[in-house]
Symmetry: C2
Subunit: 379 residues, 2 copies
């Protein structure tokens, strides 16, 4: 027992990451790679509670480091909203809104491509979830008109749309859903965990009531870290203050991001704000990459032509190989790693997801050639 | 408008911490200073979601980095509990337990020295809070026998004790409260945000049902980061899985600490586990320091002799000075900073809080001499 503990303790010495400095295609990670400025800030503010040196009682009002300007001025402009705050991540932001606006037993309507945490957050808040079905294989599209009959049937307290979803990278018509929800007067959450920080997106253009982003997924930040923007009219409800503490928000438990992820979010922000202007280049890269992989026999699922860097491919050839090699499904991961590439979930070969966001064109050419070489090595 | 935004954006360049490398007496920070191993791990796993490279669906079961061994083996041993998990911090852990075990309208009983987040978490969960009064000025002691009549009157769903509290550093008789709560059969939360990682403390010795610690406050970790230990019997309730996702805990929204604070918690753990064995040296240092400050005319509040590094002093002499100098209350902060010392809240002079945890004896001698010099400079 004690020996086992000592062994476990020794494993904590010298923690190293195996996938450092590889070409990163991992959808969860490509938007969260730190800028050099964020790396510096990480070292500077690593110690616990060091962002709170000059706190006067409210995290979002700290002026040194300049949290106040960031949260109250820069973030609302960037998100196209009137009021913004910071959260531990997109899932926590969803729960905050659900817990504030709906009561246990109420219904909400979400898209069928929603992240699993939408369902878990709703369960935590005691809500019934009605899902708008997608179009099924191979495109899995969401038609936002399909919200209408469900709204009329279920009288939901909230509407949520995942934009894009994390499985196929589909971008449904968020703006049309804004018109629909406004017509019915139902608050509308746009979950932009894979949008905010990657592509241009403004809550005001969409006509949503809430916009949610993820620092570690798409804003070049360490985790856990997220942002939540809203219309002014929701501030008093969602960011209501504690009865006994007039500067502490109930749903934030006073403060959320009291640490280093916030500093990386802030340090990377000037870069992130600029990079969304180059989204058309990202989409062009994605479409080229998808075309090249289809030439090799992989089949891209989700919308075509694709409009987001997150790609999902069927790969029957890889699955066939995995059945006859010693490493089974892991052969693909190992072959890629040997070539300095990291991305598809280790062990998965029937289908895989990648993101072209962090790799440049030259690296993607190398990736395509590597895929080609792996296929011919085993053919 | 645009110019203001540009100015705010420029402030985000080159974020630097003013209190780096000073002698740190700040109670929120002295237990959260990173080890060298944690600083290395911070750089290694800084990028968003890099702890999730080998995730198979459950954060606490990741084997590389060794989250599984840490959460399921090392933490329970360290906390003296059967089941442990990781949270965004102590406040989030409190809310998780309250939200799982109590219904809106239920009552809970807490100590009068509780942290403000205990009240805010209870409000978020819709609970009524009954407080056990402290003994008042100057010691502000909690007598745990005072829980008994309140238990009999209010039929609480939960009992909470803050051990020690963050205002006076008092250590009430947690073990006696364990006997009381067991007798009445009421679940008992020990909030050890300032204990776990500083001093030896085991949930099993105390007889509590839950133990809560804070990574950024007391476990040499970056924030936000916490730990929650419990008896096995509560696992199915507090860590219940989502109906649709059998490996995702509802109260954790699937995963909590999906980022770099977890890595610092793990990297520092071998050191933290060892340092609690030197608690008697810490207490000796504190008592010496308190005695020296009392000789200078400061009055220590809270229990005497003091048994925790968190100290609260009344300082009428500093307040008198602040009324006649240009910098007002900030003179004390500036004088200390000029001498390489950081700790008392800037602007406060009537009373101040410090912690002797991170400073060695030699540094504390320097601090005492500095206090002396500041007093005589203005006398």
């Amino acid at each position: 027992m004690k020996q086992a503990a000592n062994k476990s303790l020794r494993k904590l010495a010298n923690l190293r990451r195996q996938h450092k400095d590889l070409i990163n295609l991992m959808p969860l990670q490509t938007g969260g790679i730190l800028t050099d400025a964020a790396k510096e800030a990480l070292k500077e503010f690593g110690d616990g509670y060091s962002v709170c040196d000059f706190c006067l009682g409210s995290l979002c009002d700290i002026t040194n480091p300049p949290v106040r300007d960031f949260v109250h001025e820069l973030l609302p402009q960037f998100l196209g909203c009137e009021v913004a705050t910071i959260t531990h991540g997109a899932r926590e932001a969803k729960f905050i809104v659900m817990h504030s606006l709906a009561q246990p037993g109420n219904s909400i309507i979400v898209d069928g491509n929603r992240h699993y945490t939408t369902i878990v957050a709703a369960e935590r808040a005691g809500l019934n979830v009605v899902e708008v079905p997608h179009s099924g294989y191979p495109e899995f599209r969401i038609d936002v008109n399909d919200y209408i009959p469900l709204i009329e049937k279920h009288n939901p307290k909230l509407i949520l749309l995942t934009y894009p979803d994390g499985n196929y990278g589909n971008l449904p018509d968020a703006t049309k859903l804004g018109k629909i929800t406004q017509e019915y007067g139902i608050p509308y959450i746009l979950n932009g965990a894979y949008a905010v920080g990657r592509m241009p997106i403004k809550m005001s253009d969409v006509g949503a009531d809430f916009i949610i982003g993820s620092g570690h997924k798409s804003m070049a930040s360490a985790g856990p870290c997220g942002v939540l923007g809203m219309k002014k009219k929701w501030e008093e409800i969602v960011l209501r203050k504690a009865k006994a503490y007039s500067n502490k928000e109930v749903e934030l438990l006073g403060c959320t991001l009291r640490g280093v992820p916030l500093i990386t979010l802030m340090a990377s922000f000037p870069y992130v704000k600029e990079r969304v202007n180059h989204w058309d280049e990202q989409v062009a890269k994605t479409q080229w990459f998808s075309g090249e992989l289809e030439k090799l026999g992989f089949k891209q699922l989700g919308e075509k032509p694709h409009r987001h860097d997150l790609l999902h491919f069927e790969a029957p050839m890889l699955y066939d190989i995995s059945k006859r090699v010693r490493e089974r499904g892991y052969f693909f991961y190992k072959e890629l790693k040997d070539r300095g590439i990291w991305g598809p979930q280790p062990g998965m070969t029937k289908a895989f997801k990648v993101s072209t966001f962090a790799a440049n064109k030259e690296q993607l050419v190398f990736v395509v050639n590597s895929f080609k070489a792996i296929l011919s090595k085993y053919s």
